[in-house]
């Protein structure tokens, strides 16, 4: 069968498919070269050290320090995710509903810190929250405290700074979803007798859920890998998984020891997504339709 006998619309469809594949090819190549191959290589290293070995995994599953770090990391990730949602939802709502120039101003307030280095922001929190810091001085001046509060060099400091750093990752997907929700729907709800709260709960909230899930996912995954903030603001006691990875490289001087920790973390995250995906389908999670 020669090409000329094929239905022209089918031919068009095929050509379009080929073109799409071609367009995606550079991105796929980059991902394979920079993500798939190195991660695969690291994963292979985690079970190979002059022969097949499960030593690195044995250590993770038998030594308590690893479990404590995993538990702490997931706890902090959960706290940060919920806090960013609590703080980010109203901000995104306001940005999506405010008129120019207010919406621009709100978004600028979210984005400006976002363009500042994470390291700088972590240090800024240190300056603000330490014993002789601005926050403690104000509290004491207004007679609210007599002793400086311990707000940094602990888990609290880590959570505060991480929430601040990751807030844009919650606000932006929320904002983009909320912007697409037609205003008329709320008007329609009102014309059918729904009060503002009722309409919000039954119309706006469900429609904004894809943004919520996207934001939750982004923030949760990013927190799991945080390094600088717990290192600077954790006082040495907040040992998150990323720090365990770096300690493993130092202590064992083997990429395998560190990558085993990474592989376990990856598996945990995938398991969480699989579980969440049973409740909310993946395509919805990624913000499609």
């Amino acid at each position: 069968m020669s090409i000329s006998t094929i239905d022209p619309s089918l031919r068009h469809q095929r050509r379009e498919q080929a073109l799409m594949t071609l367009l995606a090819a550079p991105a796929v190549l980059v991902i394979v070269a920079l993500v798939v191959i190195p991660v695969g290589w690291l994963a292979a290293q985690s079970v190979y050290d002059n022969g097949f070995t499960l030593e690195h995994y044995r250590r993770i599953f038998t030594e308590e320090v690893y479990w404590r770090s995993f538990a702490l990391t997931f706890r902090i990730a959960l706290m940060v995710t919920l806090l960013t949602l609590l703080l980010g939802y109203p901000v995104a709502y306001a940005a999506a509903h405010a008129k120019r120039p207010w919406n621009v101003l709100i978004l600028a307030c979210v984005m400006l810190p976002f363009w500042t280095s994470v390291l700088v922001r972590a240090y800024a929190w240190l300056v603000l929250l330490q014993r002789t810091g601005v926050a403690n001085q104000l509290l004491e001046r207004f007679g609210l405290t007599t002793e400086p509060l311990a707000m940094v060099h602990n888990e609290l400091g880590t959570v505060i700074a991480t929430v601040h750093i990751l807030l844009p990752f919650m606000v932006l997907p929320l904002y983009s979803t909320m912007q697409k929700i037609p205003r008329e729907l709320m008007l329609a709800g009102a014309s059918l007798g729904g009060g503002p709260l009722y309409s919000f709960r039954h119309i706006f909230l469900p429609l904004s859920l894809p943004g919520v899930v996207a934001g939750l996912t982004l923030v949760f995954v990013l927190t799991l890998g945080f390094y600088i903030t717990p290192e600077l603001l954790g006082g040495g006691r907040t040992v998150m998984i990323s720090m365990v990875v770096s300690r493993n490289v130092e202590l064992y001087a083997q990429w395998g020891a560190a990558s085993a920790v990474g592989v376990v973390l990856l598996v945990c995250v995938l398991a969480i997504f699989a579980a969440v995906g049973r409740i909310i389908p993946l395509d919805k999670m990624l913000g499609q339709k």
Partner: protein, 332 residues
């Protein structure tokens, strides 16, 4: 052939960056390069050890000489990552005490883990903390404290606080050290991870007492901060030079090693930074003023009241086990 003979010899030298690498460039690297007629290329890495390993593992290292904490040179020797040195080609090291060198390393400069404190909190020298026992005594010396988030020197301090004599420290009684550390743990506000952090904590009044490197505290004091330290019971530590196994410019690297511990170059270093020369002959060159000598950790008078860290112990299996146990201690 003419081309290859004319080509200048060169090496890649790797250190830890910052003010320290700047100081050694002026004091040691530039004069050595000039005297030997070689080019010294520089790189700086805060944590060289994992990279040393992977460089050698690739079979084609690009680094020649590395300036790292001595234990990494020793461990590198053990694991075949560092070249064995032929000391007949490093005559300048002959004058150095045997403890300052090993088959794989030659000491390069000294610093000390000392007890530093805030002068506003302890204005009176007579009633200021002077020993690790004082640091541990939270009743007699109330205040906030910070220790390094690392077992090296911290275990030594804990044992001295528990009454172990400085000359009886090694082999370290690891169990006893960790037990003593558990005791102080609730009173440690911050476990610092970088030298800059340790200085900042003391400067900002986050803590009143800290175990830190002498150079960090003296730098603060010079800037006018009300802080000071004591060399008493300090733990004298060194970085050493070692050469990567299969280094591309091995003969030049050895020539440089010898030049780097030349007494005059060594004596130049403390003129630019608060670290002591590793070659004791540097103190005979008269390059360092007498007032300056008194401030340096490796000066004979100061060395006397301190303990020389045993890197051999820290690279032994017991030492490595103690290092691995640290994370467990921190996480509990």
């Amino acid at each position: 052939m003419l081309g290859s003979a004319m080509a200048a010899e060169q090496i890649m030298f790797v250190s830890q960056g910052g003010a320290y690498q700047k100081a050694q460039t002026i004091a040691i690297l530039d004069p050595s390069a000039k005297k030997l007629g070689i080019t010294i290329n520089q790189d700086s890495v805060p944590d060289a050890w994992p990279i040393m390993r992977s460089q050698v593992a690739t079979g084609k290292p690009t680094w020649d000489v590395v300036d790292v904490a001595t234990n990494f040179c020793l461990r590198g020797g053990e694991q075949g990552i560092v070249e064995k040195l032929d000391f007949s080609k490093i005559p300048n090291a002959a004058a150095m005490p045997a403890e300052y060198r090993s088959d794989y390393s030659v000491a390069y400069e000294f610093y000390s883990s000392v007890l530093g404190y805030n002068l506003k909190k302890f204005p009176d020298a007579a009633s200021a903390p002077k020993s690790w026992a004082d640091f541990w005594d939270v009743k007699k010396f109330p205040g906030r404290r910070s220790l390094r988030n690392h077992p090296l020197a911290t275990l030594e301090a804990a044992l001295m606080a528990d009454g172990v004599a400085a000359d009886k420290l090694y082999p370290l009684d690891v169990d006893r050290a960790f037990k003593k550390l558990e005791e102080i743990k609730p009173n440690i506000t911050v476990w610092w991870t970088s030298g800059a952090q340790s200085a900042q904590l003391l400067n900002d009044g986050e803590v009143d007492m800290v175990m830190a490197w002498n150079g960090r505290i003296s730098a603060l004091a010079k800037e006018g901060a009300k802080v000071t330290y004591t060399y008493n019971q300090g733990i004298l530590q060194s970085t050493s030079l070692c050469v990567l196994k299969g280094a591309p410019n091995l003969p030049t690297a050895i020539k440089f090693l010898n030049e780097a511990v030349d007494p005059v170059h060594q004596a130049n270093l403390p003129l630019h930074i608060d670290y002591g020369p590793a070659n004791p002959k540097a103190y005979d060159t008269k390059v360092i003023s007498e007032a300056r000598v008194k401030e340096l950790p490796s000066a004979p008078e100061n060395a006397k009241v301190q303990t020389l860290m045993s890197y051999a112990w820290w690279t032994s299996p017991a030492g490595e086990a103690a290092e691995k146990r640290w994370l467990q201690f921190m996480q509990k």
